[in-house]
């Protein structure tokens, strides 16, 4: 029976990776429906990844090893980060004390690798996208950290699994102001980190509006597939993080197959709800202009700061 826990952790890690492109497909389908179109198949992103893996990997003449290494480092960091998030039950493959800091660090590492790769590609778009991404991520880092710190103080635990465990013990309707503030802040930051509207448009290729797309513009073939997968894993990771910390009810208290199956079902439901919410936001709001993004992230920072302050003020 001692194998049950590691098996469950392995399963939930694999789940996060497998479900990532499906999440992308779901968002695209929901957006199409919101715009009165039929939309492509839910499994289209898998087909796209397969197609990219078959294609040739073109590398610019001026690029160095950094350009080729960036996608690998980015995806590797995402995979390790995915192992930190509790999905089906309040434990994870690499869980440990203070692992929310490790998570933030890994996200930063992935982003940094991509930034360097984009610069190294030598095109104007790469540099421009990299500098924009640097601005957004510099401002998004603080609320992400502070929001997680606030919940960590409230839960009395530094690990994401511990936070999920604590939240499981609370009732759904009675949440402290710290909770509400941290949830709002992290929700705003998740949109910024995942590169969705209103911060970045994942479907645009206009010079004025692209951030992430500008950075991956020079990549092709398997490298592009790795980067696309990394971005998809990042989105599913963030949604799973929000679900685990703020809506973990339904998670299995112990890794029994029956409870795990139920937890799987509920997790898929939560993910679907998150996807539909993102699709609705993307269909109704316009992308913020670049100079308004600091105001948006400033709001998230203020909310996160307040959450931390409130942990001391409200006992």
């Amino acid at each position: 029976m001692t194998l049950a826990a590691p098996l469950a952790n392995l399963a939930q890690w694999a789940l996060l990776l497998a479900v990532a492109p499906l999440l992308r497909g779901l968002i695209q389908r929901a957006k199409a429906r919101a715009q009165n179109r039929r939309g492509a198949s839910l499994f289209r992103p898998y087909a796209e990844l397969a197609k990219l893996l078959r294609k040739q990997d073109l590398v610019p003449d001026t690029a160095s090893a950094v350009f080729r290494a960036a996608p690998v480092v980015s995806l590797a960091a995402m995979l390790v980060a995915a192992a930190l998030v509790p999905v089906l039950w309040p434990a994870a493959l690499l869980a440990g004390g203070g692992d929310f800091l490790v998570l933030v660090g890994l996200l930063a590492l992935a982003r940094f690798a991509l930034l360097l790769g984009a610069w190294d590609g030598g095109s104007a778009f790469g540099g421009m996208g990299a500098s924009r991404e640097a601005m957004v991520s510099a401002l998004a880092e603080a609320p992400l950290l502070l929001g997680l710190v606030a919940v960590a103080i409230l839960a009395g635990s530094g690990s994401l699994a511990g936070m999920a465990q604590w939240t499981l013990g609370q009732t759904l309707v009675h949440f402290s102001p710290v909770y509400a503030l941290a949830a709002t802040a992290l929700g705003l930051v998740a949109i910024a980190e995942a590169g969705r509207i209103p911060v970045d448009n994942p479907a645009t290729h206009l010079e004025l509006t692209m951030i992430h797309e500008a950075m991956v513009l020079e990549y092709s073939g398997p490298s592009l597939a790795l980067l696309e997968l990394a971005a998809a894993v990042k989105l599913s990771l963030l949604l799973a993080l929000l679900a685990a910390v703020f809506f973990p009810w339904g998670m299995a208290p112990a890794p029994t197959p029956a409870r795990l199956a139920l937890a799987l079902l509920l997790f898929l439901l939560k993910l679907a709800a998150g996807a539909v919410a993102i699709a609705l936001i993307e269909s109704t709001l316009a992308k913020l202009r670049m100079y308004q993004v600091p105001a948006y992230l400033g709001l998230a920072s203020a909310l996160a700061l307040l959450a931390v302050a409130c942990t001391a003020l409200i006992r």
């Binding site: 009732t171 309707v173 009675h174 949440f175 402290s176 102001p177 710290v178 909770y179 509400a180 503030l181 709002t184 600091p294 105001a295 400033g298 709001l299 203020a302 909310l303 700061l305 307040l306 302050a309 409130c310 003020l313 409200i314």
Partner: protein, 220 residues
């Protein structure tokens, strides 16, 4: 019906957090329409609070007051204000003396200040400190909106938020005022919004703008 009571009690305790978030969002917003919708949401949360209190303390007046708040502050006043914004057709970006980022941080400071202000009274009054602090914070952020926003309609919203905060403070400490007084206050507020709307149009017709910081003819 015990679980309804439990839900009501929990909702009551959680409403402080919701109100704080809504207040900060109002400080962050630049468009008048968003602010009006947030005001409607805030009033809806307050109405829910009153309903929960009416349920928990079993007093019938509370339901009537909750219905009154819904009719006047969630439906009537936002509808009137939205009609005014449509008719005014000015630029939707409401100029402010300080930008949205600075507003948000000042708003956070005000929220922290309200926690500090409320502390000496909490022990004496025996109320939830988060709820009372949320009430004072809403008052202060209403004041912030009034002082920093330059468009006439945003000042109106600031005062409406301020009155919401005062109402909330009354709700948290006593169970609200007698019904007759509540009806009178709501009616006064509605009439005031009408008159302000009238004056906003007059300002626009007389001055060709609605920037109240430029109304400086009368001095000394």
């Amino acid at each position: 019906m015990g679980w309804i009571d439990a839900v009501a009690a929990n909702l009551l305790a959680s409403s402080a957090g919701l109100l704080l978030i809504l207040a900060l969002l109002m400080a962050a917003t630049t468009r008048a329409r968003t602010c009006i919708l947030l005001f409607g949401l805030q009033s809806a949360v307050i109405a829910a609070q009153i309903a929960a209190l009416a349920r928990l303390h079993h007093f019938a007046e509370g339901w009537a007051v909750a219905a009154l708040v819904v009719v006047v502050k969630v439906v009537a006043i936002p509808w009137v204000l939205l009609r005014i914004t449509t008719a005014l057709q000015t630029t939707p970006i409401a100029a402010a003396a300080i930008g949205p980022t600075a507003s948000v941080f000042v708003g956070s400071g005000l929220i922290l200040l309200s926690f500090a202000v409320v502390r000496p009274y909490v022990a004496e009054l025996g109320v939830d400190p988060a709820r009372l602090a949320a009430a004072v914070a809403v008052v202060l952020i209403g004041g912030l909106l009034m002082v920093t926003r330059r468009k006439a309609l945003m000042q109106v919203l600031g005062l409406l938020v301020l009155e919401n905060g005062i109402f909330l403070a009354a709700l948290t400490t006593t169970l609200g005022m007698p019904l007759v007084v509540e009806i009178g206050i709501s009616f006064d507020l509605l009439m005031w919004v009408f008159l302000m709307g009238l004056f906003v149009f007059r300002i626009r017709d007389t001055f060709d703008h609605v920037d109240v910081s430029r109304l400086r003819r009368l001095r000394g």
